[in-house]
Amino acid sequence: MDDLLVQSVLVQWRVNGKLHEIEAMPGMSLLDAVREQLGLTGTHMGCQTGHCGACTVMLDGRIVKSCLTQAATLPRAEIVTIEGLKRADGTLNPVQQAFWDEAGFQCGYCAPGMLLSAMELLAEHPEPTDAQIDTGLAGNLCRCTGYRSLVRAVKAAARKLQDTSGQTPG
């Protein structure tokens, strides 16, 4: 755009453990910043209105819809995206493992957002009921599975986390 009055904001984020400085333009969403400035394309655009949850990331320990979050409003932030979920040794974390083992998802487009929502859910409810899982996933749409396999995956993840007690998701 040719508007020279547009003022960018320099923001400092720790993304998946790594420090970044980004020139955030007004109107730039956290989704665009993560995908286009940082090249982390595992976070997906689905609707741009906050309804589908494909863009879910973790911001300062809580999940947010990155499409609705303005990058320039976050001068300092701790951000975790799907790329940051693997353990230090490169293996899958128990929730990722359960999503794969249980065929929780199909096309995989919603899976990153679903995973982050599931991780927050399991942090709050280590042994979630069906109703708690439904609520925990209520911000994420999946068009492939009909959700039953996702519920199964979340339950399997809960069991895996119980087995490796003392471990928090992630």
Partner: protein
């Protein structure tokens, strides 16, 4: 969950193997089309018509061109100078209909709200969007036609200039003597079924990124495309460029469900813009744009002739499909399939079905999972429910009385289809048992509690799969290559593609068994026209039938080669060589083994010794062509375009809160026949996904317009799709009859679930509302619509009481 037990654990087929493509998305490594960015990348933004019907008087792009960062602006007339009309995926003219000239952007006349009118290409997407607002377009707004039946009126606005009417195609599906059947009927039941416009809406919207290849003066299109090879053919015709200069690459696809079949204007348009700018040009669809793609808006006027015992003697249906504006996409063909699939699973011979496909000023359809067969199921099952109600019969009883019997297969349907196999009564009985039918009936008999009424719905669905339409790129066959490298690793390349259904894993399971290797030795490549064998991609539940079938044949050929080499190495007859999971052994001689890798390396390096008798390399390409597809018309001019007839029975229990109209699915059972099951978890995933389409379509999802034809449904705020809490646990039982002509009896598992589950839910809700005198066959049965119907029935009751 269904029983996942398998009879033979020495084989991968039949086992719930974890998907080979499943790791990438959960670590953020799967690359979808929108994830590709190339050096010099440009971005396109499309200006769309805000009017449903208009003439374009003037387009002034000068304002947009002044914006810094804008590289190119193009309007419809200029695009038409460079591009031919888009080739129809399924040309209506081939089937006796009218074929419109579809351009990538409107030239002079606007046919629908949202039609592309101009495009801006800029250095970044924000600039493109900003500049697009500076294009000034002057329209003469016309009165649109929006309703299918109204559009057939003699004085209706003609959507396509030069056409004599808005009727694109009319076709009868007629057999026997329906008039005689109706003349002798004890009961004639008339039911109008209004199926609304609803859409597939994959979470990944469409995206095209065209890269100009300066070296060959060709183009590579990265595309959310289900059918890369046929799309390449269309691009070749539209761009006037040989297919050999075009590469279509469909990377990981985030759900498709028919919507990513081609004919969309943006495909060729991005290629043209890449050519004109010499730089990569990307367009990513917004959700608002994605919601413009409709499907299924169809009104049926059904009549059933029944004898005194509830046997259906004849069927009449006059149906009108509102397919919107002309499009090159294959959506309109859904309406044809609706008629062709009549009368579904029922043994009715005397039928008189008349299809009318109508063009209106609504946005166009594209293919949607179910492909018209879901509308057959809805129309039939709602009409039969009406008949059961009027005759005082049980919903299951009337169906069991009228099904084609298991011993009647192969069955020649009255429209010319040849159903391969099935046991429809058995499936319904299994689904009833799974849900506890009698228990729920007893609970229903106890009456409503706290204003909540319970209803039970039964429905059946026949979904012909693997379709092949003559004279079109909807082919019934497909091909795969199996390539084994000197290190023994295996690459499968297929002509079929995956929109995320798991078929690469199913195909790898088949090849692992047929070739004799372990699953971890296999990689699968799909969706690239330069590397994969010519293929037709993904539609019609075909990918495992023909993709798996052809990969099995190729694997058998490669296995024969490596067995020959191993026999030479062992110095034993070939018949004595065994190969299982990557290890060769000799029958009866313990301890003599060779690894797959050792034999493959010996083959590649022993062309004049141990591999003398085989053709190197260790590769084969094979085609699977189901033998029962028949395109030569019979004496009545009928063809059988389908090799496979998947089917399923559904029983649901719904609860209706009569004070709010809110409905809830309490229990759901399905008995599914998709033939032989390769991977039970993946099959169940397909079925549950289709069921969520059906339940969502029946209860929530709808695309609405205002009276001037502007679409009101523009985001997921308005287009309400089921979330986790909205869907019940599904009790899934398999009731498989293997298809006698396909590889291992495969039938296709992708589509069954949409229409049958939608019909079962509608029937359950209407069943619940019998005490209130409500029968609602105008979909969707959303809370406001149900509440409205209850209020209307109450007022009617009060009026009648007063009289």
């Amino acid at each position: 969950m269904a029983d996942h037990s398998t009879t033979d654990d020495t084989r991968y087929v039949g086992q719930a193997v974890r998907t080979i493509e499943g790791r990438a998305p959960i670590v953020g490594a799967a690359r979808y089309t929108n994830d590709f960015v190339f050096p010099g990348q440009l971005y396109a933004h499309i200006v769309r018509s805000p009017h449903a019907a208009a003439r374009i008087r003037r387009i002034d792009s000068s304002g947009a061109l002044k914006v810094s960062g804008v590289v190119r602006v193009l309007d419809g007339a200029e695009a038409a100078a460079h591009l031919k009309p888009i080739t129809h995926y399924i040309d209506p003219a081939v089937f006796g209909g009218k074929s419109a000239e579809v351009r990538v952007m409107a030239v002079d006349d606007v046919w629908c709200y949202g039609q592309p009118v101009a495009v801006v290409v800029a250095e970044d997407k924000r600039t493109a969007r900003f500049a697009a607002q500076r294009i000034q377009i002057v329209y003469d707004v016309l009165e649109p036609v929006l309703d299918a039946e109204a559009a057939t009126a003699p004085d209706a606005h003609i959507v396509v200039p030069g056409w004599d009417s808005n009727i694109m195609m009319q076709a009868p599906f007629r057999n026997g003597d329906p008039d005689a059947a109706f003349a002798k009927a004890a009961h004639v039941v008339k039911t109008s079924v209004d199926i609304h416009r609803f859409s597939t809406q994959p979470i990944e919207t469409r995206c095209y990124n065209a890269v100009w290849e300066h070296d060959i003066e060709g183009v590579t299109l990265y595309a959310t495309a289900q059918n890369p090879h046929p799309l390449r053919h269309v691009l070749s015709e539209v761009l006037g460029m040989p297919e050999s200069k075009i590469r279509v690459h469909a990377p990981v696809i985030g759900g498709a469900f028919g919507m990513k079949m081609h004919g969309h204007p943006e495909e060729a348009l991005m290629c043209l813009l890449a050519k004109l700018t010499g730089r990569p040009v990307k367009w990513t669809e917004t959700r608002e744009e994605c919601l413009l793609i409709g499907a299924r808006e169809q009104r049926h006027h059904m009549e059933l002739a029944l004898d005194a015992d509830g046997v259906i003697l004849g069927l009449r249906d006059r149906y009108f499909a509102n397919v919107g504006a002309p499009s090159a996409c294959p959506g309109w063909g859904m309406a044809f399939l609706t008629g062709l699939t009549m009368p579904g699973p029922y043994a009715v011979r005397d039928i008189d079905v008349q299809m009318t496909v109508v063009i209106t000023n609504k946005p166009s359809w594209n293919a949607a999972r179910g492909y018209g067969k879901e509308s057959t199921a809805l129309a039939l099952e709602l009409a039969i429910e009406d008949a059961a109600r009027q005759l005082g019969m049980d919903a299951a009883e009337i169906r069991l009385k009228n099904f084609i019997r298991a011993e009647q297969f192969p069955y020649n349907s009255p429209t010319g289809l040849i159903y391969d196999s099935g046991d429809y009564s058995g499936a319904v009985l299994k689904a009833m048992h799974a849900i506890g039918y009698e228990g729920w009936k007893a609970r229903q008999a106890e009456g409503p509690k706290d204003g909540k009424y319970i209803g039970i719905g039964v429905a059946f669905e026949l979904t012909p799969e693997g379709g092949a339409l003559p004279g079109t790129m909807v082919a019934g066959y497909d091909s795969s290559s199996v390539r084994v490298a000197p290190d023994g690793s295996v690459r499968i390349l297929t002509g079929v593609t995956t929109p995320g259904t798991g078929n690469p894993t199913g195909i790898a399971q088949i090849v692992a068994d047929e070739l004799g290797v372990t699953m971890d030795a296999i990689e699968v490549t799909q969706g690239d026209t330069t590397t994969c064998p010519y293929g037709f991609g993904n539609y019609s539940g075909r990918s495992t039938i023909v993709g798996g079938g052809s990969a099995a044949l190729a694997a058998q050929q490669v296995r024969a080669k490596v067995v020959t080499v191993a026999a030479a190495l062992f110095d034993v007859p070939e018949a004595d060589v065994e190969l299982h999971r990557g290890v060769f052994s000799v029958k009866g001689q313990q301890g003599r083994t060779l690894t797959f890798k050792e034999v493959c390396y010996a083959a590649y390096t022993g062309a004049y010794s141990v591999a003398h008798g085989i053709t190197l390399p260790l590769e084969a390409t094979a085609t699977f062509k189901p033998s029962n597809i028949r395109h030569t018309p019979d004496e009545n001019g009928r063809i059988n375009p389908y090799p496979s007839y998947s089917n399923a029975a559904y029983v649901t229990v719904c609860e209706v809160d009569v004070e709010t109209g809110k409905t809830k699915v309490l229990a759901f059972a399905a008995a599914h026949d998709c033939g032989r099951v390769i991977n039970p978890v993946l099959v169940e995933g397909q079925a549950c996904g289709a069921i969520s389409f059906g339940v969502g379509g029946a209860m929530f999802e709808a695309i609405a317009f205002d009276s001037s034809g502007r679409q009101l449904t523009r985001s997921f705020m308005d287009y309400v799709m089921p979330r986790s809490e909205d869907l019940p646990a599904v009790k899934m039982v398999h009731h498989d009859s293997p298809n006698p002509v396909t590889y291992m009896g495969l039938k296709g598992a992708g589509e069954a679930g949409v229409g049958g589950s939608a019909a079962a839910v509608v029937n359950a809700i209407n069943n619940a509302l019998i005490p209130l005198g409500v029968s609602l066959n105008t979909l969707p049965l959303s809370a406001p619509n149900v509440w409205g119907a209850i209020q209307a029935a109450r007022k009617r009751g009060q009026r009648e009481a007063a009289e």
